[in-house]
């Protein structure tokens, strides 16, 4: 039978130790509040803010009404308008998630003929979202057509049949959506957690004092540390690329070079976060907690599970300063879509800017703590 006095003694000691550590208190209370706020306000699986581009002839009244209904529904936002010839391009450049191409002779005529000439193109990188988009479009179109045509002589509106074209993930497999993002997440975990813990380990074990008194510069110590774990992260991420090919048949359409390029840019950010964490953490345990505090919101606001488009605008800026968000966007673009250069630049530039800012901040803080 365990003795109550012993349990009480441990309880008293642990509480005293935990509450004496101000950083630990911050972590204990900050993490659940952050999670609650994120899940309550920002994160939702509901498919919203779908950017849609409707292509129709200027005089097509029914098509115009349908477009209006899309936007009024609250699920859709207008995407950049496209010409008839380049609608697949705006999907590959991520300017629209769906493109509805109405026939040039007018929608009404086409519906009367059986409506097979209406084409709906969907970016299916996220398969769940693609299915929802297709359902939304079909429902709104059917409703609008039946409302608009209820006064026709026939009395009943003909059913709307769409020629749906699923792009980038035609079999709608969620593995295609998740695995490129997982490369990024693994790289992030390796670089943030292992580098942070390894730097704190030097401090905790007292070896750091000897290192900084040696004829080495702070940059050399930081590079020596971060380089090792970056290489490890690369090895694991690239072995996942091979695994993804062997197990799921996923190939890197944009080529390994682009993948390597974007991962290298990302590593500057993640290592800088690790350096910053190590300046706050005195022990490996604190570094581990600190890494989780970063990784958890970074993961939730990266688009790995919850689409960033669904986050309310007032909270979306957090995702826009999250390096993992740009990495995952870039990885899905490279792996599934072939790595369009414009999208690559759109993700690499903010990633590089965030990385530089974090690096300056992290190293400055690191220097001030020596």
């Amino acid at each position: 039978m365990p003795r109550f006095s012993i349990i009480k003694a441990f309880f008293k000691k642990e509480i005293a130790q935990t509450l004496r550590d101000k950083k630990m208190i911050a972590m204990i209370f900050f993490a659940p509040i952050l999670q609650m706020t994120l899940f309550g306000f920002a994160l939702t699986n509901e498919v919203k803010n779908i950017s849609i581009s409707c292509i129709y002839s200027p005089g097509d009244v029914l098509a115009r009404t349908i477009e209006k209904r899309f936007l009024e529904s609250g699920w859709f936002v207008p995407a950049e308008s496209a010409e008839r010839t380049d609608y697949s391009k705006i999907l590959s450049k991520r300017k629209a998630e769906a493109v509805l191409v109405m026939p040039s002779q007018g929608l009404l005529k086409e519906i009367e003929r059986g409506s097979s000439g209406i084409q709906l193109l969907i970016d299916a990188v996220n398969p769940q979202r693609a299915v929802q988009i297709e359902n939304y479009v079909k429902n709104i179109m059917s409703q609008t057509v039946s409302q608009e045509l209820k006064n026709t002589p026939a009395g009943l509106a003909p059913p709307v049949d769409l020629n749906v074209k699923i792009l980038y993930n035609p079999s709608l497999e969620s593995a295609f959506f998740m695995i490129p993002a997982l490369f990024g997440f693994i790289l992030c975990i390796f670089t943030v957690m292992l580098t942070g813990i390894s730097l704190s380990k030097e401090k905790e074990n007292g070896t750091f004092e000897k290192l900084i008194s040696s004829p080495v510069t702070v940059w050399e110590i930081l590079l020596g540390k971060t380089f090792t774990y970056s290489i490890l992260g690369f090895i694991v991420a690239f072995s996942m690329v091979i695994g993804a090919y062997l197990l799921f048949g996923i190939t890197v359409k944009g080529g390994i070079l682009k993948l390597f390029l974007i991962c290298s840019i990302f590593i500057v950010s993640s290592c800088s976060v690790a350096i910053f964490i190590s300046t706050l953490a005195k022990t490996q345990q604190q570094a581990m907690m600190g890494s989780l505090i970063f990784l958890f919101p970074a993961l939730l606001l990266s688009g790995l599970i919850f689409p960033v488009e669904n986050i309310p605008v007032y909270a979306r800026w957090i995702a826009y300063i999250n390096p993992l968000y740009y990495l995952l966007e870039a990885l899905r673009n490279i792996v599934l879509k072939g790595g369009d250069w414009i999208v690559l630049i759109q993700t690499a530039v903010p990633l590089a800017l965030i990385g530089t800012a974090l690096l300056i901040f992290g190293v400055k803080k690191f220097n001030s703590k020596l």
């Binding site: 074990n205 007292g206 070896t207 004092e209 000897k210 290192l211 900084i212 008194s213 040696s214 004829p215 080495v216 020596l370």
Partner: protein
């Protein structure tokens, strides 16, 4: 006094650590080529002094100057010539003795040939040759400290700073460590802090600190004459 080795001069050095005035108005001369003992009880300011000398801390007031062959060396250049062994454990428990020497030889940018010769000599000198492949975490307290010392000696420094190297070490290992320090003292200036008062006798010059102030700084014999005492520790009883 060996003029080719480093000497250090402290003038009215003061340093506050958090709320405590760790050192106040400390003026000391560490002549080259000698073993200097910085002696004092816990909290006397020994570690702060050693860390200031190693350049890990900057003084709040006063100045620290380093000289070689009579010429002052800029503080930025001195770091390459100083070796520092902290008081706390400073080795990687999961690396072997040889792996430690290899790591530090890379940090000191030594050639492979030079590393091979020196590491062999140093391991032999401290009697660790047969334990070269043993992990630091599995070494005894005395062997651990010896490994720490030889890691910093690889660089052939001009100034060796040892912060309480004999703390927590058994008497035999303490004797070995002092033999080691005496063995290298003609090649470098050694400044060694200790709270063991009997170790003062092993030093060429003794600097006694108490509550951040200098109580005495002279040859052990002169201090005993000055204070009319038989043992150095009696200074604290006066």
């Amino acid at each position: 006094m060996n003029k080719n080795l480093i000497s250090v001069s402290l003038t009215k050095v003061g340093k506050k650590m958090l709320e405590t005035q760790a050192l106040s108005d400390v003026s000391l001369n560490f002549e080259s080529g000698k073993i200097h003992g910085v002696i004092g009880p816990d909290g006397a300011g020994k570690t702060t002094l050693i860390r200031l000398l190693a350049g890990l801390l900057k003084p709040d007031s006063g100045k620290i100057e380093y000289f070689k062959s009579g010429n002052q060396i800029p503080n930025t250049l001195i770091r390459k010539r100083i070796a520092y062994l902290p008081q706390e454990q400073s080795l990687y428990a999961d690396l072997s003795c040889m792996e430690h020497l290899e790591f530090f030889s890379n940090i000191y940018n030594m050639s492979k040939k030079d590393f091979k010769q020196k590491s062999k000599k140093l391991l032999e000198m401290v009697g660790l040759s047969q334990f070269a492949d043993r992990k630091a975490g599995n070494l005894s307290g005395g062997m651990y400290k010896k490994l720490g010392v030889i890691c910093v000696l690889l660089n052939s420094p001009d100034l060796l700073l040892l912060d309480e190297p004999t703390i927590g070490v058994d008497p035999l290992s303490r004797r070995d460590l002092w033999n080691l320090i005496h063995g290298i003292s003609n090649e470098m200036t050694v400044i060694c802090s200790t709270s063991y008062m009997d170790e003062a006798e092993k030093c060429g010059k003794v600097h006694i600190l108490n509550e951040g102030k200098v109580l005495a700084s002279d040859l052990p014999g002169n201090i005993k004459k000055q204070f009319k005492i038989k043992k150095i520790e009696e200074v604290f009883l006066l």
